[in-house]
Symmetry: C2
Amino acid sequence: MADLDSVLGCLDLNLDRSVERLKDLLRIPSISTDPAYAAECRRCAEWLKEDLAAIGFSARVAESAGHPMVVAHHGGAGENAPHVLFYGHYDVQPVDPLELWETAPFEPQIATRPDGTRRILGRGSADDKGQLMTFVEACRAYIAETGSLPCRVTIFLEGEEESGSPSLLPFMDAHKDELSADIALVCDTNMWDAETPAIATSLRGLVGEEVVIRCADKDLHSGYFGGAAANPIHILAAILAGLHDADGRVTLPGFYDGVEELPDEVRAIWKGLDFSEAEFLGQVGLAAPAGEKGRSVLEQTWSRPTAEVNGIQGGYTGKGFKTVIAAEASAKVSFRLVGRQDPAKIRAAFRRFVTERLPADARVEFHEHGGSPSIELPFESPELQAARAALSAEWPKPAVMIGMGGSIPVVGEFQRRLGMGSLLIGFGLGDDRIHSPNEKYEMTSFAKGQRSWARVLEALGRQRA
Amino acid sequence: MADLDSVLGCLDLNLDRSVERLKDLLRIPSISTDPAYAAECRRCAEWLKEDLAAIGFSARVAESAGHPMVVAHHGGAGENAPHVLFYGHYDVQPVDPLELWETAPFEPQIATRPDGTRRILGRGSADDKGQLMTFVEACRAYIAETGSLPCRVTIFLEGEEESGSPSLLPFMDAHKDELSADIALVCDTNMWDAETPAIATSLRGLVGEEVVIRCADKDLHSGYFGGAAANPIHILAAILAGLHDADGRVTLPGFYDGVEELPDEVRAIWKGLDFSEAEFLGQVGLAAPAGEKGRSVLEQTWSRPTAEVNGIQGGYTGKGFKTVIAAEASAKVSFRLVGRQDPAKIRAAFRRFVTERLPADARVEFHEHGGSPSIELPFESPELQAARAALSAEWPKPAVMIGMGGSIPVVGEFQRRLGMGSLLIGFGLGDDRIHSPNEKYEMTSFAKGQRSWARVLEALGRQRA
């Protein structure tokens, strides 16, 4: 363990420098969903390639049909060492509504609380630049202190995770050998709480759809046409309102096919977690679970499927008032999937649901925004046990195994396309405001996250040594 | 009639010059609802004041709490001549979506069709700058040819008609004596068809409301919170969807209080109109009447009340996709009123309807955007008969008396506050695309509209001479 101790010491000594590096990375506005930021996405990939090359990886920016990938390799302790693939993403969410940010989203700052704890402010600080840099910093220190890494390491960073990863699967298929490893390490998840690390063993899947309803061929004056002309906002509102029944269940025919009740074993583990529904909702200003009746909040967010309207737009939405009947209205709708729910079937059921409810004079157009099934990872693999012990050594409380409400589609594709399992280990916290204004990452997450990865790499290296 | 003939001849001779003046006026982007255009609204008022002063009116730009008014007086044939108040508005609607305009909205152009007919293109060409200039040009020619006007004339132009006229009533109350006349002339309505002038004798009222629903205190990630957190878009959609029943009737309790069936006399007149539902809807790409079942389209748009959502917004509406649960969602909703429906009661009923349907964790905020009752004008006044004969002399077909689906709140206020009736005479056509991209005004409307006002002024002046 002498090596590990010196690596951990090196990380502690160089924390300030690692923060400066992260701030440099956060200054690049790599918003993948908005084509206006394409050059910034590329600049971000170049930055990462340069940094990885500087610490001894053979790194490159690899073209895809969309934003480029970063792929980097390090031979580590040699051919017999276990081979891990680290996955992260360098792209970030849009920043609107900008007026709600207390600091400029791409001018990262360190803020100190009265109790001395610090946080890193800025878009991407938690999701996912801060998280991915915990791994890069662990590698940097390991190589600096020992001249190598305890595992063979491939680092694979994409730039389209926040926009449905359209180029990911073709790229994985085209670079199958290069990306295959013994296990994938994915750092895009949360701790259980600030003292308790977590390994996620289930993730919900996702189907993203955009629906556009059109009626008249132009915007109409509601005085001349109101009462006679079809209003696409009314039609859309009625259809969306019909997606849930009074008990909060989703009404799409066949929606719950493949959804099963929690196994007793999992239910027992979740019950043992120190979780307060009131605190979870209270942190965002809510008090009452709003979803499926008769389910706990952990069930609602980890093991039950959902339908959510993520955006809606139609007619005049500027200041003041305009008595218009819009020509079109649109919504972005996503479904979180669990168990064996089939993304293609859910998408088809939604489209049928909408189409069947269209009145005369209404036409519909759909746009697909990604789809992936849910993931369940084995509880008892030796890698998971090794990582669990490594994390428990670093943090005040032992690591727990949890479910996840979010979707990390790449995990399923690693399994399906590259035949490898994943360890989902992340150091985010529930109040990091990812996807929202004022995103932050705790300094403790960043510092102890680096130390955690050093420990996990050491533990995985030991398994096959 | 020698005077009138020379005035008409003068108008014909000077048409090109009057078109240039209108184009100058149309170049000013006087969008009243957007504060960014406040200086342009003022510039527009100044332009009109200068033009009216140039033809012999004592004109001024009068301050109000919002955009300024234009008030101008001409003594006409002296104290014994009838006194008319001409009302129009110089402000225009916003131009979004800009990409649907075939010509720049504030760079007016004259376009000629293969058959030689011409139209004036640009925002405000029909609503209401082109219309109000028909009256100004008639006055210009009358004064040029005869040295005076056959009536005493006050011209009153506001700059907030498209944004709910917030300053109009205080201004009318403060300038009651100055604005009172024997009758008001309002030029903001349509012809029956391109050959048939119309005088509107009923107008629907209007209630405008904006509703904002808030749940969490920030935008949430739909993975972490989806299924447990209240989604304001769902809540808003369900409430809006509940505003109509399956027969297209509005469900607000008490909504139809004061709504009566059409008198047989009016029904007979409307039945006699040459009106094709298929053509009316077909011109905007629709085929089926979408409103209250069992009602004709004329009833739906002239004599029945409506609820329309004019705009809706919430969550992520940019390009791509964002799996967010929004903190808030909002809609702009308007009600068209008929008969004795009370705007205050309708507004209160709507607010109650929304508030009663809010689930836990949802809060609501309302913003008022104007309200006015419906108007019914007497069929048989001498002024109406005189105007009807004057219009019938100008156009290929005799003038008809019609209802109107739109709201011109000022007409009710003229009656209530200043004790005067109105004549609603306009030269717009149903395909003018007011409030929409590619607004136009027919050259025939502009030319024969000027001639019509000369005839109407002459006929009204004769009544008391």
